[in-house]
Amino acid sequence: MVGAITWQAIADGLGLGAIYALMAVGIGLVFGVLRLVNFAYGQLIMAGAFALAVAAERGWPRWVGIALCFGVVLALSFAMERLVFRPLRAQSPAVMLVATFAVAFLLQSIALLWFGPLGKIAASFAELNQPVTIRDVDVRKITIVAIVAAAACLGVLLVLLGRTAIGLHMRAAAMDFQTARLIGVDANRVIGAAVLISGLLAGVIAVLLTVQTPLVTPDFALRDTIVVLAGVVLGGMNRLLSATLGGFAIGFVSGLLGGALPTDQSQYLPSFLFVAVILVLLVRPDGLFARRGDAVVQRV
């Protein structure tokens, strides 16, 4: 694996890492309150991306496209929570994981029926793909936008979780749902808040990802979700921070190597990535960034 690790590749890695970190937060928030790994998170993003593509195709203004994207993603998030997560809340996490796997395939095949396998192009933000030159390094504008947007989202989230009543409730629920309910945390409200925030993040990610890859197909964001899930487990599912760090790390590494390796090696990138994930899991099954002595209750 001798490749040129250039500033260019590092910039790509940071951009991808930022997006993956946001995805990790979206998955981790819902996991915190529901102990449910949402396999269908990528399909939420896909739906939002298709909304953007349709808006672009019809020539609607950008803000309409973004509004449509958020509307679709949020509606789907709440529908998913109400129709699938809620009836399954009492089930074992393994059942829930398989159920979201089913939902993911359902949404993907609906998109296939609706839009066809070739997909659509969401090109309303194409100019963000132009590079700007910073000290001889060409950085795409979207990379900077992604990093700034991720930092902003995480900052807002930090304030929300740390400084508001609902944030406190969510943290309490993530630690111990039963006890939190006993001392007056409203279960549906907390879950609703987590689904809402996770849906909003999916909307942001949809906008960012469509700029990076404007071609939206039914399997849009599927690969990313798989990699992020690995990253989340790699980092440590039990704390939001470690999950986010895991997501960022795996995004950074895959962006970096994807840019630095020659093609005949980078085609094996998924293998390198997952071998690394498996190796880490063997040494630290609770995750790379998990605190030592954390009481681990994994019930999948």
């Binding site: 790994v37 009836p87 399954l88 089930q91 398989v98 159920a99 395939f105 609906i110 029926l113 998924p270």
Partner: protein, 331 residues
């Protein structure tokens, strides 16, 4: 040991084969497909059903079995032209149908055992993601490594020996293997760890060892299924990847995760429904329509059904129980 637990599933498989033989070739193929999928479901059941640990990685063993059997049975004189970058020791070899199926099962078992050696120490979510990793790695390597197979292109010139009879026999062998395992002391020990790991440990069962044994055994069945697949149609890496993982998991969950009867009922029910939908689309649809339309709509129905079953009957259609024949009461 209750023999009805074996006779029920086996009779159902035999019945599927018999009914299939009544149809002409164009319909028969649905039965063959379903029976081969059944073998994959049984492999999955052997591990997931008995251990309670979800695996997304079994299709990797199917893929590897398919590659083994495919590469072994392509006629040697065509191999140099079809797969020019193959390892010499693979290119020289050519074997018959049965040998290739056995080799597929052996490779599946060895690979599963090797992978399981480290992975079976994990449980819970980590195990799920790690087995998914195995699928990703296998898919990725088979897709690009042309020294062991056709890479991105489809297998061609593999003798199409998987007919209805062979698929039915394959299904019966898999049923028998699953039955024999779950009634052995190893199967019972693994089921004990599924119900209560702590209690199982307390009576001296090694969770790790039992899971590993079951994983290797189910790897053998999965590899065998892969052998059947490659002798059925010109296979590519995409056929033994996420879609197959989804559909076989759906079959198992819809039928009922924890019983052999459930695995067989689920596989045949979902396979039958899937075939009906495909046939209906062909029958009604005009040729002007795109091919992708029916392919998508089938998964919509199966996906919706799977979600519905999970919500309404989380233990599957059979409730995860074995078939009990009504007993004659002795007065």
């Amino acid at each position: 040991m209750r023999w009805s637990y074996l006779i029920g599933p086996a009779a159902l498989v035999a019945l599927a084969g018999l009914v299939g033989s009544l149809f002409e070739r164009s319909t028969e193929i649905y039965f063959i497909n379903t029976l081969v999928a059944l073998v994959v479901v049984l492999a999955l059941y052997l591990f997931v059903g008995n251990s309670g640990v979800v695996s997304f990685g079994h299709v990797a063993f199917v893929a590897l079995g398919a590659w083994t059997a495919g590469v072994l049975t392509i006629p040697a004189e065509e191999k140099t032209a079809l797969l020019p970058s193959l390892f010499p020791w693979l290119a020289e070899r050519q074997s018959g149908n049965l040998v290739s199926l056995l080799a597929a099962a052996a490779v599946g078992a060895v690979f599963a055992a090797l992978v399981g050696l480290p992975l079976m120490r994990l449980s819970g979510l980590a195990a799920g993601i790690a087995t998914f990793g195995v699928l990703e790695i296998t898919h990725n390597v088979l897709r690009y490594y042309e020294k062991i197979g056709p890479g991105t292109t489809a297998f061609s010139s593999v003798p199409e020996t998987t007919d209805l009879l062979q698929a039915t026999i394959g299904g019966l062998i898999a049923v028998l293997a699953a039955f024999a395992y779950q009634n052995s002391r190893f199967g019972r020990q693994l089921r004990a760890t599924r119900e209560d790991p702590a209690a199982a440990r307390a009576v001296g069962i090694s969770v790790y060892r039992q899971r590993l044994l079951s994983f290797a055994l189910s790897g053998a069945v999965a590899g065998f299924a892969g052998g059947l697949y490659v002798h059925l149609l010109p296979l590519t890496t995409e056929e033994v990847y996420l879609n197959l993982t989804f559909i076989t998991l759906a079959m198992l969950v819809i039928g009922g995760l924890t019983s052999l009867w459930g695995a067989v009922v689920g596989a045949l029910a979902v396979g039958g429904l899937d075939s009906l939908l495909a046939e209906a689309e062909n029958g009604i649809g005009t040729f002007g329509r795109t091919i992708d339309l029916p392919a998508g709509s089938r998964i919509v129905v199966v996906g919706a059904l799977m979600a519905l079953v999970l919500i309404l009957r989380p233990n599957g259609l059979t409730g995860g129980r074995e078939l009990r024949l009504p007993r004659r009461r002795t007065a």
